[in-house]
Symmetry: C2
Amino acid sequence: MANYTAYKYEDLRKFAFEIFIAIGCNTSDAEIASKVLVSADLRGVDSHGVARLSGYVRLWKKKRINATPDIKITHETMSTAVVDGDAGLGLVVAPQAMQIAIDKAKKVGTGWVSVKNSNHYGIAGYHSMMALENDMIGFSMTNASPLVAPTFSLDRMLGTNPISIAIPAGKEPPFVLDMATTTAANGKLETLMRKGQDLPDGWLQDKEGNPSNVNTGVKDGGALLPLGGDHLHGSHKGYGLGAVVDIFSAVLSGANYGPWVPPFVAFLEPAANPVGEGLGHFFGAMSIDAFRTKEEFKHHMDNWIQTFKKSNPIPGQTEVLIPGDPERRISAERMENGIPLIDAVENDLKELGKEFGVSLG
Amino acid sequence: MANYTAYKYEDLRKFAFEIFIAIGCNTSDAEIASKVLVSADLRGVDSHGVARLSGYVRLWKKKRINATPDIKITHETMSTAVVDGDAGLGLVVAPQAMQIAIDKAKKVGTGWVSVKNSNHYGIAGYHSMMALENDMIGFSMTNASPLVAPTFSLDRMLGTNPISIAIPAGKEPPFVLDMATTTAANGKLETLMRKGQDLPDGWLQDKEGNPSNVNTGVKDGGALLPLGGDHLHGSHKGYGLGAVVDIFSAVLSGANYGPWVPPFVAFLEPAANPVGEGLGHFFGAMSIDAFRTKEEFKHHMDNWIQTFKKSNPIPGQTEVLIPGDPERRISAERMENGIPLIDAVENDLKELGKEFGVSLG
């Protein structure tokens, strides 16, 4: 059985900060990158947090991540921009691009930014939530390494391509949707793999394209399935949404799309014939008061949330949740009791610490 | 068994036009309303086409639809607007609101319009596709009468709340996603009901909140399920998307949301304590050249489409489709061979024609 050791949020964040400094990031970039990275652990998305830190370092060693990027706008209008991430950490590029969207929304009501030449940006929800403190609705999406088969396709053509939309409320906590466009995110498969349990129907197909419940299926050459699972259950919708994320992130910006998206793992080489630069993201910000007064909106948003929360639960359930509730609860619990790291991740971080002379906790 | 009779597109459109004129619409409103309505039949979304014409007329008789609305902008910024539909036909309000989004995108790169005080707007895809001829990406969504239970909820809190996103290509036909945020649209349940077939798992729960395969389930007080079907298969994602549609369409604009959305059927009264005006829509337009040149974008969009179409199909399938392919094929076939109307709909239209002195075909 796997063992877990709890670490304080601030200790993990500081560890990640020191590692980013060690690979050459400046102080402010290392601050933001570590904050974005560890927000994943805090919110319970363990697959996107410190578990990936050594992966980022390996990409840096391969010179696929630039620790001192010159991030710049290459094209813009009043409400839009294209940003070139200069092969920087997505953890650094994304917050800068989202800030550009927010600044444009302050001026003309909304801002929309497509990003090329970036890398993995952590959890989508960190970036969309930047809009909240500005009384704006935030959007964040990114393409990712191809692991997902479109409806009826044998081939892995899309990433798990997440969409996050964050909407401010008044007295209630904000509404924060943060979802992979697949039935289940890859992290959930990894959890079942560790537990030695079969996958539910509709999560995976094997490398021949047949439905599969084998928890090692992705490693064996199978593909994750779009939200819906199969055509009868609407997988063409999950596929369509994942495709929109890919197009907005990469075809609009000039990044790689579909099967050309560079793999996160450093032992796989990027495609020899790229169709763009790096991977892509897409961000948006819509100012509430570009539509109606903040006060009116927040009053009705609170009413919306309270009304949905007090709807009657089905048998066997105790409550109806609002998007963002589960992550907020895990966050509060982990801020209090620490973030549990599984042995394998803890050992990986200790190795990394040894290599760069940084101690963990 | 039900029988079908084929009618020419132009005959159905002209019939609908005459009916809209008969209830007091001006010529240009009747033109656009009939075009939007019958585009649903043409694209194979039979539940949203002429089958609903008598329903619109019944709402007009109840004075819940205003045939001569004064549609106006009540608030705006450079890239946003709120539109008051003045209780007009959604079929008329929606194209005007979408045009406002397009006009703003011409000036500042993007345009975003939230609409209150409207009615059912036909198929989402008609409106998003208006962006295509302007070399823009189009967005269209609407809330609708509550028929859908959020994850873990017993109660019908949301409509089937569709999202359509239309993206132009070059030589290839455009990418047009047009999806209900439920596992299956209500029209698909009606089809299985007519055929006397059980529903697949994950489409419906009964009025006690248990999974159900009974094809009359919605009429029996059950609820449609969000895309994903149940929590294990990601229904919290479908619920989250349907919720976003509701909030953008109504909480941003000041329309009714959630359980307060007025029912389409005239025999059910709207809520006695409305939280807003009518139902709501949300539209968006993003100019391609606000991001990169049209030529570059279209070249890569063609490549995207061709790459996905030529991916290998799974066993038992012959091809991988792009969102919009099925509707485009049905459209071509029905423009050629006519639109098949089932007896019940044909009789309903003939009755309507008799009442208003308009002949069908």
